[in-house]
Subunit: 336 residues, 2 copies
DNA sequence: CTGAAAGCGCTTACAG
DNA sequence: CTGAAAGCGCTTACAG
């Protein structure tokens, strides 16, 4: 097997054509002022030599790496992977590569270590599924790099965000469970200090009214699934709303191990509709934000910031799209 | 909002400490020869100034970008996202960032455009879920860059691969369906020219024997789901083996629309056990390769190639791990 | 329309 | 143990 072939650089292409590196560079970047003849010569030489431009080198000089960083805490959740898939394809189409970062689930925030790691790659923009930690907000803003918070409200941080109406989603879940006859409800959230989680909770609580007792609000980062399940069984809770579908699945499993069957002994509503992303049968009743449009909205904001198009007040996603409840088998009419 | 703060470079740190950029660089990279005093001064200055090294610049000079490219065709499939999540975390722990590339599902191969895009980022290594296209194999090998084919056999390309025993998995599926009483079987593959797909098919065919008629072997890239479902119904097929879980889910849906219920009118086996990755209830019977160990094996090979550790003949994944069949509700004993 | 020089922010030899 | 110079592969002014 032949060893690492000599790397072909602009200089080689220049030598091969008898032109200067400057001219070759100009042709490749389609800058004005060169003859068709020169263009052909360059194109030909690049093909012959198998020239591939070094994007890192060009980034260093030009100040733009044509790279976008995506930050998340858990690529396993299809909500993130589905969105990341769409985003990276759109970025690619626009000449940007995607570099991914995760937070090791240390916290639901972009902390200092993480942002430093991201910035060391000099991306042209950062799209984060996580909110910035208190002490990184100023740092990020001062860096001047476009930062989009995806799926969360950016205003508290003075940043751009692309978010959906989470309270509305929570309300849908609450109304649905009530309308199906469930009367003793619970909410299983993720982190007690994450806004999305609280928004869904508040919407749900508002709709649920007396049916949701304060002692039936849980956060999986504080109470483990088994403890939650035990409490639900003990208190004869009959309707669950979970922060996302994965949490719902885990609860279904935990309750099954206690002899309770989904859609028979209790009703349950999730969030995200990952079943559809995976083309699975509709089993779980869930809230669907329209993830494809959501991702496209996020990409649009990012590209808008990158190209400095004037940020004319287009209506944000939140105001133009509305979540819907998709019914599965997990919330049949209760009793009668 | 303050505008882009002046970027802090090594030069600034040098000026601030009264040292040369060289010395500062040496301290930051922990090269030998500097006093504790100098080290403290540098550390202090970096903190004060908020210095973040430019990894692209260092990569340009040093020849190593500390970047690994991961190539896939569909991040939505949890098999890929789960694996990518693990891989990127392991790479991160070892000082490498991950840059992702997808093929736009143009083909199941790494084609010329794709590899050029990847190489332009000068990654230290490439881990691909896709096999290289015929005409890119030579190019990739000549580039000298470590290339690991994940989930596929690398030997036909003279490359390193990390693969599982796919025929064995296919056999498990076939034996299971037979043992449950299904007698008229079908295989739903992905691409007819992808080795993994064929390996599973061959293992399955071997176990199925006469129960698998040649006309009941399909590839979803050639025949659409509805056409497949129609044929299955017409021929009263009672047992399905699908290339992966997602294909299985789509088939279940297509058959349901034709009035056939999974686990009642027919049995079905998938591949990958994505249910477990998503912590979902065990519904589908499926083949599980042990994706966590699989991902770790892939990372190990990649890191091994990067650090040039001698490639002592450790047993490859295929020879040390064996897939298992995980039973769900989709393959109950038939009839009696 | 094309070229020679400078420089992006680092690290790598090489001096001292 | 530390520093001055050169250079990684490009693009950006600036000349001509």
């Amino acid at each position: 097997m032949s060893q690492a072939k000599k790397k072909i650089t602009l200089k080689d292409v220049a030598a091969h054509t008898g032109l200067s590196v400057n001219t070759v560079s100009r042709v490749l970047n389609k800058k004005p002022y060169y003859t068709k003849e020169v263009e052909d010569k360059v194109t030909q030489a690049c093909r012959e030599l198998g020239y591939i431009a070094d994007r890192n080198a060009s980034g260093l000089r030009s100040g733009s790496t044509r790279t976008i960083a995506i930050v998340f805490d858990d690529l396993v959740n299809p909500f993130y992977s589905f969105t990341t898939d769409i985003l990276s394809r759109i970025f690619e189409e626009n000449g940007y590569n995607t570099i991914i970062f995760s937070n090791n689930a240390r916290s639901p925030y972009v902390d200092n270590d993480l942002i430093r790691s991201v910035l060391s790659r000099k991306p042209d923009g950062i799209l984060s599924f996580l909110e910035p930690a208190e002490d990184t907000v100023g740092f990020i803003r001062e860096s001047g790099i476009p930062f989009v918070i995806f799926g969360r409200d950016g205003t508290p941080y003075g940043m751009r965000g692309v978010d959906a109406d989470e309270e509305f989603g929570g309300r849908l879940a609450g109304e649905h469970l009530l309308s199906r006859g469930y009367r003793n409800l619970a909410y299983i959230g993720s982190w007690h200090d994450v806004k999305v989680c609280l928004d869904r909770q508040h919407g749900f609580a508002e709709a649920a009214g007396d049916a949701l007792d304060g002692s039936h609000i849980f956060y999986i980062r504080e109470t483990d699934f088994d403890a939650i399940a035990d409490k639900l069984v003990a208190d004869k809770v009959d309707g669950l709303f979970c922060f996302n579908d994965i949490i719902a699945f885990v609860m279904i499993d935990a309750l099954e191990r206690r002899g309770l069957r989904m859609g028979e002994d209790y009703g349950i509503v999730g969030y995200d509709n990952i079943q559809q992303m995976l083309r699975m049968p509709r089993m779980l009743t869930t809230i669907d934000v329209g993830v494809t449009e959501f991702a496209h909205a996020g990409a649009a904001v990012m590209l808008e910031m990158l190209t400095d198009e004037d940020l004319t007040p287009r209506l944000p996603f939140k105001d133009t799209h509305v979540s819907v409840l998709v019914e599965g088998k997990s919330t049949p009419r209760k009793g009668w």
